[in-house]
Point group: D2
Chain length 207, copies 4
């Protein structure tokens, strides 16, 4: 994590916790109001969260009172998958209004054709700038920029929806690049909601 609180992901991306509300205590609040109960022993709350997480059918609502806001910088092809998760709120930098920064994802390692890839991405930014110069609308000129280009957005999401995203994006079948973001956010989640995250890893991720 750099001084600004951004955790680097991929070659130029990052995630950053901007705000949160509730934490593990909000899960307990949600559960205990149903039963009008209180914890009788110090570890009763922790055991309650573990039981709620492990139960089938799921008790999703109690996890919805904990909420997070993250700032994210990632390639467009990752953002496209991300924003398919509908139980959340997003605002993204718009290339209808802003000029795209010359920043795109370059995969690590010794890849064949990597130079051709970089050359092409640079050429696409050159053309993008020419088109705007020539009077094309920004919203049209962006059509030449590949989905490897970086974008930025904020994401407000409750803990239940967050865990659903984590489960899907940490799965071995998910795209590796997206999984790197999920790993970074799982770390933050574990710091802010240690009991819930621990129960989630055990009961859902089976780590």
């Amino acid at each position: 994590m750099d001084p600004s609180g951004r955790r680097p992901v991929l070659d130029k991306g990052w995630v950053q916790l901007e705000a949160y509300m509730g934490g593990d205590a909000a899960v307990i609040r949600g559960a205990r109001i149903c039963y009008q109960s209180t914890a009788r022993t110090p570890d009763a709350d922790e055991r309650l969260i573990r039981r709620l997480m492990a139960s089938e059918p799921k008790h999703n609502t109690v996890f919805e009172h904990a909420v997070f806001r993250f700032g994210i910088k990632c390639p467009l092809f990752v953002a496209r998958q991300w924003m398919r998760h509908r139980i959340a709120s997003y605002n993204e930098r718009s290339l209808r209004y802003c000029i795209a920064d010359r920043e795109y994802y370059v995969p690590e390692g010794d890849l064949s054709q990597k130079d051709a890839y970089i050359e092409h991405m640079e050429a696409s930014f050159d053309l993008y700038e020419q088109l705007i110069e020539a009077g094309w609308k920004r919203e049209r000129a962006r059509g030449v920029l590949g989905t490897a280009v970086y974008t930025e957005f904020i994401w407000t999401v409750n803990a239940w929806s967050l865990m659903n995203w984590l489960q899907k994006r940490l799965d071995p079948g998910a795209q590796w690049e997206h999984g790197q973001y999920a790993k970074a956010i799982l770390e933050i989640f574990s710091e802010i909601m240690p009991v819930t995250a621990s129960a989630f890893k055990e009961s859902v991720l089976k780590l």
Copy 2:
């Protein structure tokens, strides 16, 4: 507001702000990331919020990054309407697990038949207790309790969905009892998000 932070509503109900995240600053964060802009003058942020609120079509997403959690005590017939608002999270005291408290709404004022009403509500609690005594399940015995009975729940909701609820429940066509809750929550909303609430009153409520 009493010392515990509960604002009384109706004869035995209340609302209480339990937590919040974001406030007016979250709206600005959501709006400014789209344009990658910053405020140039001290009142630029306020003017931006007013413009977003007044615009048609609506810019709902920027208002979704501000989130609230309220505790609420209200009659069942109010809670039933309330929980029809789906973009929110609820957990409610369950009469499957808890024994109902002998608390029910009595309308103010000099109403004909008020004594008969009170007598009947008391009789319903007497019967409820007898049924449980006789071995009925709580979840069945509750069937004799009228919807004037009080319930308690927590409500996590973003500012956009909150304003939609406020607009509907402050409308003259809404049930008066529900409107009393909306008035109390509008006050809290105005304290926590003064700029957004002021713009909402002007552009949407037309106050």
Copy 3:
């Protein structure tokens, strides 16, 4: 099922399929567009649905293109639980505008205090009518009617959200009365989407 297509549930309730869209074919449509694939053998579609249902993490979106509308008559205490399921659309008979019918749930069997229960429910309707006679608003007078009273609503829901409801309401921990509605709707679901319902019973309900 009676001639009108209503399946009786409990002593006076029913469920009825009013409309549907898509069925098993919609699940296939949703899945095959992702892969731009077509079925090579007659049973390929069925195997695909079974694989989608069994996979973890879940592929929920493909099941969302199949949609149902049901008409339902049930006790208020069942309707209250039902409408907590938020990914669906509801419209319910309103006791703000309509006069309540004198219909309430009476549990089957030889229950102690059953006469007292019936007597009380009748008395509550007597009082309800007196209050309205005396000039009380309907929306207030309803406060004396217990949640054993029947209500009617329509429910539009996609197959994914329907299965989530079924899983929760067919669970042994759910209220028995609600479970009776889930059983009736599982039958309808199995008629309209036989492959999906069969896979659901196997992979989720573990029947």
Copy 4:
């Protein structure tokens, strides 16, 4: 509309109605169950829909019982905006599994730099194919393809959410290319739900 039922949009895109449920009658069903009322005159239903559409606050739920499924082919930059509408279900051709077709949007008219644009888009497909040839994963190789590339998806959406999308995308402030899709879908909507669409044009679009 061509023989397959596809309405052309832009240079290579289209929209197609695949299925629908309910129509204007579903709106009436939703509204009349609230009041337990029936139409007394032939045009009572039409007047009811117009009143519901014009009222403030909005009566959204009654419009949610009418549901549509569309097939859509559009540029990625249009699809990205489209899928930000969360009250709907989507499944899209995946470039993780499929090879992209060499199809991209070329704006109409006499645009400066149009040849350079076309040349670049062709070059990006050439490189895309080379990268895959060289062993890059499809999900990574797609990073060089611009958002002018066409994609295909299906969209299941209720009439309320559809009208919200139409209002936003028919607005003069919306991107012109997206608006062309909204125009085509407004035509289909008007054929399937003539009364609702007419009321929508009058009260919301102010046409």
